[in-house]
Amino acid sequence: MYSTNKNSLLSLAVIFLLAGTLFVGCKGDDDAEPDGTDEELITTLKMIFSQGTETLTYTFSDPDGDGGNAPTVDTVVLKAGATYTFDVQVSDESKNPAEDITEEITDEKDEHLFIYTVNGANLTMTIVDQDSNGQPVGLSGAAVTGATGTGTLNVVLKHEPDKTAADPGATGETDIEVTFAVRVE
């Protein structure tokens, strides 16, 4: 079984050489042009408050993405003792034309949840829309203001949260977390 036949050794060597020529695929030389264009990015969040025909739009915008220039954040100014409906829009304005990400969220309502937290100001945000399981989504709702004052509105978009948890904000992964200054006047 272990006899060393010269021919068999020669053939083994030939196999080595063949293996050599076959295996050297010279893996894709790197002349391919960079194509880092389809990177997913959220640059802009718009809060749209409506009352009758009046529409107020407040924006958090960071068109160059993380780092670079600092984002710009509007101050949310609402009338005291008023009831608004609100909508939220999310987009990627680093692309041309801008990509509307709200659509993608609408398509996957059960995987997403907007959480609104108000501090200081007399503002109550109530989510009205629901996903297929009857759980809140937060793409639209009602905003009711009380007496004048100032504070902050924190908007968080969660991906794959546990919507039935005591604190859904402690579950899932955060896609957006922005804070607006709020003035009720």
Binding site: Y2, T21, G68
Partner: protein, 778 residues
């Protein structure tokens, strides 16, 4: 370029060169060669010192017992052969032509039968303290991966990202401060990232060597922490074919590993030898004591081959290796912002529940690395040995994120979010001069061209790099002296072109500098060995340190590079004292290192605001840093069967400018082990070994550099056993390793996933190693 054509070219070139090496012999070009065998078994004896007293020239036998002493003038010589544990042997030999003289040696009766044989001659260029892993100790650990296998060496730790990504940490330093040599070639992968493991198959290695401290001017200037050498088996020197098969199964992750090689040598006019080697590995979700770790499986396949031609004065070798891995990144570690990270840390168990599966999901990494190397050498009787080498490396790294924002477009699901490609070409020339006045030495020149492209993901920009290195080494070594000295000097010049920023304009950066080493081995008595290493090293800043600008996901930090960073300069002092006497051996290896302009991430006062919230910001800064520590080891033989070993390693690191600690420094570690040798006299060891590892809590961390405090101290119990078997004519070794025997839940400071989950629980590895073929390989 067409690779096959190049191969044929090498081969033809090699064969043509052969014809020219038949040289005429004059009186001082004679040689003495032969084989040294054990007088009783008749087996060839490696590592025997053969010394010609009159010529003051010597050689050490190779693994097939062969020795050759060249460049002799005709005359009568006294040949002395010596070997640890053998009777000294001396004989007069007349050299008037090329002489072949075989000797036999006899073991002394008063020496223990089982002797650890170590080559006394260190290869040129690495006369610095270090350790190596080979033989059974290596084969017991190969299944654990390259990084984890190295952890068996004293003072070597690993920086982990989950359970499947491990990088070696030497003297507290890692990544670009540790040089990895893959079969003599500087590994050019993506070592800058903390979650980028070395792209090397540990099964391709016969030896894994670690040189601590800046002790390797031969390979590069930037090994501030140390050097790891992966050395494959030498191609077979005897005719016939042989091979080996290794199988391993790990209970945690139900991982299966298979590795095999075959090799052969032809004789006669064409002394061609070759080897083919391959490894396949597949594992599923790993488990911590209380839960499965979601998406922690991996799949890896690697292969390599080598073809060599060796004549007395000429040799040529081709080597090719490919490494391919796809590994899951623990889902629980994927976070969107700092709030998520805090939530994950405070949670009892990871958010994502998982069961066992072999399936890999996003997030994951896919890495490919290929290495091609062609090397030739030619020995001149008058001038010494000339060697030249060409290598090409190609590295592809793809990272796939957990999810695309908003939803998934199925067409982009196959696309990675991050893709880096690096191609490196290198040419080395080496002249090892003939021994002059007890001086052995070499001069070398190395040129390297490296192109890195970033195809996706804007974390770092692409770059092009040209590097030229020149070095000179001399070793003074006399057979009569107790002292051995080595000195080395190296100069490197580096130009880097980086296209960064919105304007995409090229920034040219240049760095240059000298590095040097001084090594000394002193053997004042038979039982003592004192090893001293002094060295300077420097490292140019890496592209990520210069140009990073973005959120480092998983670390939830915003990292910002600085283009005006200068080079790091290190001064390293190293000592290794070993005492071996009868049944006790003690080894103490203290070190002291000063690094000027050490590059590190400094927390900034202002966080960076993004649409995912505010991230703590870190900027690359430079400071003077001091590192010192000790690795110590004591072995004690208690009678014939029992062996005790204690190990301790400690590191203290301090940022002298900021007067604070450094991040990611290994905590103090104690290890005690008791071993029972079942067959103390047998050629192949059979043992059972129980080891207790105790790792302290790392308390010396800089303030505000981390979000959560370092984890608590922990103890682990490990069990190892190996047993050689003879099944008919077939010899094989079976082994068992149980790590974390008590299934202890713990977190380690050097595991970057310590925020999210416990480390892996009990893991039982069963392995089998089987030599096959005519010439049994152990």
């Amino acid at each position: 370029m067409k690779r096959p054509t190049i191969y044929l070219f090498w081969l033809v070139a090699a064969i043509l060169c052969l014809g020219t090496t038949a040289t005429a012999q004059t009186s001082c070009k004679l040689s003495l060669s032969g084989i040294i065998r054990d007088v009783e078994s008749g087996k060839p004896m490696p590592y025997v010192n053969v010394y010609l007293k009159e010529a003051e020239q010597g050689a050490v036998t190779d693994h097939s017992g062969r020795y050759t002493i060249n460049g002799l003038c005709s005359g009568e010589y006294t040949v002395a052969c010596s070997h640890i544990g053998c009777h000294h042997y001396q004989e007069k030999v007349l050299v008037a032509r090329q002489v072949i003289k075989n000797f036999t040696l006899k073991y002394s009766d008063n020496v223990l039968e089982k002797i650890v044989v170590k080559s006394q001659r260190l290869p040129l260029g690495i006369l610095a303290p270090g350790d190596e892993l080979s033989g059974d100790e290596l084969s017991a650990r190969q299944a654990a991966g390259f990084g984890k296998a190295l952890e068996a060496l004293p003072g070597v730790r690993t920086l982990n990202t989950g359970a499947s990504i491990s990088k070696p940490v030497i003297q507290g330093l890692h990544s670009n401060r540790v040089l990895v040599l893959n079969n003599g070639i500087r590994q050019e992968g993506q070592q800058w990232g903390m979650e980028h493991a070395p792209e090397i198959d540990p099964f391709a290695a016969e030896k894994l060597k670690v040189i601590k401290g800046a002790g390797a001017v031969r390979y590069g200037a930037d090994a501030i922490g140390g050097v790891v050498l992966m050395e494959p088996r030498a191609l077979p020197a005897t005719k016939g074919w042989q091979g080996g098969l290794q199988q391993a199964f790990q209970s945690n992750g139900r991982q299966l590993v298979s590795s095999a090689f075959v090799e052969t040598k032809l004789g006669g006019r064409l002394p061609l030898s070759g080897r083919l080697q391959g490894t396949y590995k597949k594992g599923g979700n790993q488990r911590s004591p209380d839960y499965f770790l979601a998406n922690t499986g991996l799949e890896e396949y690697n292969f390599s081959y080598a073809i060599g031609l060796e004549k007395e004065r000429f040799g040529s070798e081709l080597y090719y290796s490919q490494f391919n891995t796809r590994l899951g990144v623990f889902s629980g570690a994927h976070i969107g912002n700092l709030t998520d990270l805090r939530n994950a840390f405070e949670a009892e168990r990871p958010r994502k529940e998982a069961d066992f599966t072999y399936d890999l999901e996003r997030p994951q990494q896919k890495v490919e690395h290929e290495l091609f190397k062609a090397k030739s050498w030619w020995k001149s009787a008058r001038l010494g040995k000339f060697e030249w080498q060409y290598s090409r490396q190609y590295n592809l790294r793809q990272e796939f994120d957990a999810h695309s924002i908003g939803g998934r477009d199925l067409s982009v699901l196959e696309n990675p979010e991050i893709e880096f490609r690096t191609t490196t070409h290198a040419v080395d020339f080496l002249w090892e001069h003939k021994k002059v006045l007890q001086l052995e030495g070499m001069l070398g020149a190395q040129y390297q061209y490296k192109r890195s492209k970033v195809n996706r993901g804007g974390l770092i920009p692409g770059s092009e790099q040209n590097r030229l290195g020149l070095f000179w080494l001399e070793r003074w070594r006399s057979f009569h002296s107790l002292l051995e000295l080595e000195f080395g000097l190296r100069y490197d010049y580096l130009v880097m072109d980086v296209r960064a920023g919105e304007s995409n304009e090229a920034t040219e950066l240049q760095y240059d500098g000298f590095s040097s080493t001084l090594g000394m081995i002193y053997r004042p008595a038979e039982d003592w060995r004192i090893h001293v290493g002094l060295g300077t090293a420097w490292r140019s800043p890496n592209v990520n340190e210069l140009f990073s600008d973005g959120v480092h996901h998983g670390a939830a930090s915003f990292e910002k590079g600085r283009v005006d960073l200068g080079t790091e300069k290190a001064l390293n002092t190293q000592l290794n004292i070993r005492y071996e006497h009868n049944n006790i051996s003690v080894e103490i290896a203290p070190f002291f290192k000063l690094v000027d302009d050490f590059i590190y991430l400094q927390p900034s006062a202002e966080p960076v605001l993004t649409i995912r919230g505010a991230f703590p910001a870190f900027q690359y800064e430079q400071a003077k840093v001091r590192l010192w520590g000790t690795d110590a080891q004591v072995n004690y033989k208690l009678g014939e069967f029992w062996e005790w070993q204690s190990r301790y390693s400690t590191i203290r690191a301090r940022n002298l400018d900021e007067e604070e600690g450094l991040v990611l420094m290994p905590a103090d570690r104690f290890q005690n082990q008791l071993q029972f040798n079942l067959q103390p006299d047998a050629e192949l060891p059979a043992f059972v070994r129980l080891s207790m590892v105790h790792v302290l809590r790392q308390g010396r961390v800089p303030p505000e550099a981390d979000y959560v405090p370092p984890p608590a101290a922990y103890h682990l119990l490990n069990l190892e056993a190996a047993w050689p078997l003879q099944l008919g004519k077939q010899q094989l070794t079976v082994g068992l390793n149980v790590s974390n025997l008590l299934d202890t839940a713990y977190r380690d400071y050097l595991n970057r996933f310590r925020y999210f989950a416990d480390d892996v629980g009990r893991n039982i590895t069963f392995y089998l190693k089987m030599p096959i073929g005519k010439n049994k390989v152990h």
